[in-house]
């Protein structure tokens, strides 16, 4: 990961695509400003990219520990009533959401 050649650049189209993927609405007159700020952040990332990491193992987690595993046992009981009491809409035990059809 010693690639320093790529210059951070991001255009307004990419910003709008990422916003769509993240379900964030950015008003039309704010796209330029957001693009500029994210480009600045990417410039900082680019500075980090310049560091020589030849002998450094990629790190999946900053904690120097490994995952503990749990035994395969059922420990949860049915608490549907409590959970559904705070849901906006339920019917026949189902959570109702605005119509989605793939």
């Amino acid at each position: 990961m010693s690639d320093t050649s790529t210059k951070p650049s991001i255009d307004p189209d990419e910003i709008e695509k990422i916003a769509t993927l993240a379900r964030i609405r950015i008003a039309g007159d704010q796209v330029a400003g957001v693009t500029h700020r994210i480009a600045d952040i990417l410039a900082m990332v680019d500075t980090l990219q310049a560091a020589d990491t030849t002998d450094v193992e990629p790190m999946a987690n900053p904690l120097d520990a490994v995952q503990t595993l749990r035994a395969d046992e059922v420990t949860e009981t049915n608490r549907r009533e409590a959970f559904q009491a705070i849901a906006p809409a339920v019917e026949n035990g189902l959570y109702l959401v605005p119509k989605v059809i793939e």
Partner: protein, 480 residues
């Protein structure tokens, strides 16, 4: 132009754990909606995943079964997308460092030949919930019981060349995972779901064409039909000089066609990153070796053993070893009957034929192995003929009891009593003056053929129960 299909399969296998991969909720199929969805499965704020050891063990068993590299340090990642049956807004999966690396296994084709198919990788992930699109006043109903069920996604190399090979691969995979006991393999309940990647290239070429992905096909038959349809569709496009579009398609079983999924332009941008709520999973060599010790005899090992131990041909051995319950059944019959070849024949022809006709599996076979073994013993000790045995088998199937009970109740025991048979032989000879005359006039060679007529008549008279050997002896004596 002659096109060569290139096919790779991604199979989502539900692992047979008691609890979910990251929570202590049960995984029982068919429960009342949302009664098996805990705070973790619902993505309530502050909930954290804790990894189920059994899910990891099952994945490693699969890896060892296909001779794969085991990821001694594997990492979970977030796969981000929004859908209401995925409450967190991401699926916990594995991207860069899966638990199972490259492996391979052998599949058997219809013509008896076998081929080695590569496995690219297999990784652990959680299942999503279910969306029910029936009419809830214009809304969609969400059942999160399945959310968090452990899945092993098994990705094959693009080594398959036609629909039949793809089906053979799935059957071999099904056989392996049920042997290992890591999944119930119940396709009707969605325990094994399949995505198909398929592209065409000119025969002889070694560069890949543009592929289409067909999502969520859930039976062997639909896999075969979906692939066949997709080969036809793509070759029509290419023959007309067009280009295949890289896209995700759905197979519609009712209309036997594939069609593009909507919202495809954003569907494949999952922005994976390491899951901060889980640490890397490190597997010690001793732990992996302990898992290896628990592996049962695998389907292909059993097939080779059957072929050697019982002198069966490779195809027959493969049929009998295809599922563990069937293999166990066959071995029980072979042991009790004392003749493996006849046992193999009865299990393959009569039993499997009957099961297929009733669309039943060996698990719900009404004839226990001990009863079939007893039936075979009665053929071997000449109590009944092979033909009568089929009648007895039908009666056992219908629940009339074991072989001896049916033979006694229906009076099917072969008649070897000389007095009784002699009376029948006399009756036949008395009623066949013309044939007797012909017989007496014939030379030795012809007589052998003509005697068959008399045997047939006696068998008919005895309703198939006469002992043919005794009848032959009596006829030889009486006809002189």
């Amino acid at each position: 132009m002659q096109w060569e299909p290139v096919i790779g399969l991604e199979v989502h296998l539900q692992l047979a754990t008691r609890s979910k991969i990251f929570s202590g909720s049960p995984t029982t199929f068919g429960a009342e909606p949302n009664t098996q969805a805990s705070a973790v499965d619902l993505a309530m704020p502050g909930m954290l995943p804790v990894l189920n050891e059994q899910a990891v063990r099952f994945a490693v068993m699969f890896g060892l079964g296909i001779g794969a590299e085991i990821g001694k340090r594997s990492v979970f990642d977030r796969k981000n997308y929004f859908y209401p049956d995925l409450p967190k807004g991401y699926q916990i999966s594995q991207f860069s460092d899966p638990v199972v690396g490259r492996g391979h296994f052998e599949i058997q084709l219809e013509d008896g030949s076998s081929r080695e198919i590569g496995i690219t990788r297999a990784h652990l992930e959680e299942d999503a919930g279910k969306s029910l699109h029936e009419d809830f006043h214009g809304q969609t109903g969400i059942d999160l019981n399945r959310a968090g069920t452990p899945l092993l996604e098994i990705v094959s190399e693009p080594d398959l060349r036609n629909a039949a090979e793809a089906v053979a691969y799935l059957k071999a995979l099904h056989s392996l995972v049920t042997y290992l006991g890591i999944s119930d393999g119940n396709m009707a309940e969605g325990s094994m779901r399949c995505d198909i990647n398929i592209s065409l290239r000119p025969a002889g070429s070694d560069t890949l064409g543009t592929r289409a992905e067909i999502k969520n096909v859930n039976s062997f038959r639909f896999v075969e039909k979906a692939i066949q349809h997709e080969i036809d569709r793509q070759s029509d496009i290419l023959d007309d000089g067009g280009q295949v579009v890289q896209e995700t398609r759905l197979y519609d079983a009712d209309r036997n066609e594939t069609r593009p999924m909507r919202s495809k332009e954003v569907a494949n941008d999952y922005r994976y990153f390491p899951e901060p709520d889980l640490l890397p999973v490190v597997l010690e060599d001793a732990w992996i070796e302990a898992v290896r010790e628990t592996l049962p005899e695998l389907p292909w090992e059993k097939r080779h053993r059957f072929a050697n131990q019982y002198q069966l041909n490779d195809y027959d051995a493969g049929v009998l070893a295809a599922s563990r319950p069937l293999a166990d059944y066959f071995e029980a019959v072979a042991r009790d009957a004392g003749d493996a070849k006849i046992a193999a024949n009865w299990v393959q022809v009569e039993l499997l034929g009957r099961l297929n006709r009733d669309e039943r599996g060996i698990e719900s076979c009404p004839v226990p192995a001990t009863h079939l073994a007893q039936l075979i013993q009665r053929i071997l000790d000449n109590s009944i003929s092979g033909k009568i045995a089929k009648q007895v088998f039908e009666a056992m199937w219908a629940g009339e009891g074991d072989a001896d009970t049916v033979i006694a109740a229906r009076g099917l025991k072969q008649v070897s009593d000389t007095g009784e048979l002699e009376a029948m032989v006399d009756q036949v000879i008395a009623g066949s003056a013309a044939q007797v005359e012909q017989y007496l006039a014939a030379d030795e060679g012809k007589r052998k053929k003509l005697v068959g007529y008399f045997v047939g008549q006696v068998m008919k008279l005895s309703k198939g129960q006469a002992n043919p050997q005794v009848v032959n002896e009596l006829l030889a004596r009486k006809l002189g």
